[in-house]
């Protein structure tokens, strides 16, 4: 399958998850995308999957306390100043589940894009997507940078624990990414990037199968909007 067709399919699944209203339908899309992500090597997929699941879990936990919908309370809590009565209703739980699964589906779609697609071919096919594809390629580099900072600290006898401890690494990680970006830009210019008259290696032909995938992607979006 051409990367362009694969991107269309992933984007369609994510869009369908956002458009669908039924919990079961969103769950099926999220599970399907999760299964796709499992094709990536375990050590690489862990970062993406854990990040997505933690974010979706947090959304599921917080939503019932923020939303105020429904008339079938499951639990009634104390009255909190400003927020009023804290309670959890059946409708709030359902809404939280749908929203969490939507977020998970979008996260898994991005993970599948980052982990499984041939970004080089995508760059070639969609020129305007070059910055996005380059940024995606920087993700593993950022992971390595973060691990390197932690290792350098451990090499000095300093253990970093918890989210708060790791938060101190955000600033050096950002600085590191900026520095790396500048160096990469310099190297790209030295290699002729931006020059007029660019050519490219011959592209693989667009096949009937790719057209079918794009048609299926469109159908998935329509189904998500109309029936799911």
């Amino acid at each position: 399958m051409r990367p362009g067709a694969a991107v269309a399919l992933l984007a369609a699944l994510a869009a369908a998850a956002l458009l669908a209203q039924h919990l079961a339908a969103v769950a099926v899309v999220a599970l399907l995308l999760f299964a796709v992500c499992l094709r990536a090597p375990a050590d690489r997929r862990r970062f993406y999957l854990v990040g997505t699941l933690v974010s979706a879990g947090a959304l599921f936990v917080l939503t019932p306390f923020i939303e105020t919908i429904g008339s079938h309370p499951i639990w009634t809590g104390p009255i909190v100043p400003v927020l009023g009565q804290i309670d959890i209703t059946h409708e709030e739980l359902t809404s939280a589940g749908v929203n969490a699964l939507r977020l998970a589906a979008v996260g898994f779609a991005f993970a599948a894009y980052a982990l499984l697609l041939d970004h080089d071919a995508l760059l070639q096919a969609v020129r305007f997507a070059r910055p996005a594809a380059l940024a995606t390629r920087m993700m593993p580099t950022l992971e390595r940078d973060a691990a390197g900072f932690l290792e350098a600290l451990r090499g000095r006898g300093v253990e970093v624990n918890g989210i708060r401890g790791r938060a101190v690494l955000l600033s050096p990680l950002l600085a590191s990414a900026l520095e790396r970006g500048l160096n990469l830009a310099e190297a790209m210019e030295a290699r002729g990037y931006g020059r007029a008259g660019r050519t490219s290696i011959p592209r693989p032909r667009w096949r009937v199968r790719d057209s079918i995938v794009v048609a299926v992607a469109a159908a998935i979006v329509a189904a998500g909007a109309l029936w799911l």
């Binding site: 050096p172 002729g192 931006g194 050519t199 290696i201």
Partner: protein, 448 residues
């Protein structure tokens, strides 16, 4: 006719007080290999960037004089327009790789310069074969070792069939055999090459001419035999030391012992298996071996950063390890605060460590504002300040000039009786100067 020419080139970076290059004149003939030597900060990288047109186009600054590449004035032609006539390989391969597959990475430059579509893959495969890396064509760049990445970068440059090849510390991550092979490939290309490298003996074997820079000025421009004479008389430290001059060290108690150690990073094959190593207080042990033999992994096991999957690793006292990449020591926003991390913010000790590494007066500087050489020393200060019982250093001489290397050896020897020291390095000259004992992975241990 000269391929490249610099005529009275003077260049000052933006916000700098003094010029990085001062009145430099130089000509390169086709097929000539010129080694650019000089201390850290002497202007070697700036000179290479001037020949690539990156100075002044990418960096800005004040540019005087003239640089011509194949008759093109670099002031009026952008670096991207020079690509193909000139090709560069920078020091850190990770920071010049754009794409994720090797063959596409090599093809990237060819696409940019407008090579006919049906020729691109042919030339990319030829270039990979020319640097002995044809087998890497379909690999993902993320899977490659540092040495393999450097060869891919060279292939990317060679594929352009340039008239001038610029190499900035191209062998810094390669073991001696791989570095020799790399330079032989370069010389065999038959094009003009300007190469900067701190490992002098190796580079002199392959160069025709030597350019020695100091404070941005050319101190020497001579053929290799004359350059060796000049260095022997004026800069003898550049021609290497003659051993560490120490008697057999007084080996104390065992501080670190690895027995039958096995370690694998994931479910795959172990990186090291059945490794035995003992480090005693008072000795400096050098660990060498080819790329990919597990030197860094053993170093991390010795420092307690990794736990073995099998076998035993015993560590007595406090261990500290210096990683290869000095940019890992840029967490805080001041140099003294960075060094103080390992001693719970003890600023007095941090200042002492900075002074010992020649960084007095730079306490308030941001670590990222320091030069590469200064960053190397900051990283070392961050580790030495701990005064560890077991000190592990991974490639501490990468990018370090001979003068600094000699100072580092002196520093390590000065405190060595109080600790056990393990130095992982490809640098044979440094091993000869600093180590009491040398171990080459895969070969029988050898006493130096």
């Amino acid at each position: 006719m000269a391929v490249a020419r610099a005529d009275r080139l003077t260049f000052t970076y933006p916000d700098a007080d003094t010029p990085a290059l001062c009145d430099v004149s130089l000509e390169l003939e086709p097929g000539e290999v010129v080694a650019v030597l000089g201390p850290s900060g002497s202007g070697k990288s700036t000179l290479l960037r001037a020949f690539a047109g990156l100075v002044p186009h990418f960096h800005g600054g004040r540019f005087e004089g003239r640089v011509e590449i194949a008759g093109l004035d670099t002031r009026s032609v952008r670096p991207s327009e020079l690509a193909g006539t000139v090709a560069s390989v920078f020091q850190d391969p990770e920071e010049q790789i754009v794409l994720s597959r090797v063959i596409r990475e090599v093809a990237f430059g060819l696409e940019n310069i407008g090579t006919a579509s049906d020729e691109i893959l042919v030339r990319a495969h030829e270039a990979l074969a020319a640097v002995g890396s044809a087998h890497l064509a379909d690999r993902a760049v993320a899977e490659l070792s540092g040495g393999e990445l450097q060869r891919v970068c060279l292939a990317s440059a060679v594929a352009l069939r340039p008239k001038l090849l610029l190499l900035d510390e191209p062998t810094s991550q390669l073991d001696p055999a791989a570095a020799d092979a790399f330079l032989e490939h370069v010389v065999g290309l038959g094009i003009a090459v300007l190469v900067s490298d701190h490992r002098l003996q190796r580079i002199l074997e392959h160069a025709d001419r030597v350019l020695f820079l100091e404070a941005g000025r050319v101190r020497l421009d001579a053929a290799v035999p004359a350059a060796e004479d000049w260095l022997g008389q004026n800069r003898p430290i550049w021609l290497g030391g003659s051993g560490n001059g120490r008697a057999e060290p007084d080996r104390g108690e065992s501080m670190c012992r690895l027995e039958g150690v096995r370690f694998a990073y994931s479910a795959g094959l172990p990186v090291v298996d059945g490794v035995d190593l003992e480090l005693r207080r008072g000795e400096i042990v050098a660990l060498g071996g080819a790329n990919g033999t597990g030197k860094t992994t053993i170093a991390k096991l010795a420092a307690g950063l990794l736990k073995p999957d099998a076998g035993t690793a015993e560590l007595r006292g406090r261990a500290a390890m210096l990683l290869q990449d000095p940019s890992r020591y840029c967490i805080r926003e001041r140099a003294d605060e960075e060094v103080a991390i390992g001693v719970r913010g003890d600023r007095r000790r941090a200042l002492g460590a900075l002074a010992a590494l020649g960084l007095a007066g730079m306490e308030s500087r941001h670590p990222r504002d320091l030069s590469t050489g200064e960053r190397e020393r900051l990283a070392l200060a961050s580790v030495l300040v701990i005064d560890p019982d077991v000190l592990v250093l991974d490639e501490p001489t990468r990018g370090v000039d001979p003068q600094r290397k000699a100072e580092l050896a002196k520093l390590l020897r000065a405190g060595s009786e109080h600790r056990a020291t393990l130095v992982v390095t490809h640098d044979e000259e440094f091993v000869r100067v600093v180590a009491d004992r040398s171990i080459t992975l895969g070969l029988e241990a050898l006493l130096v």
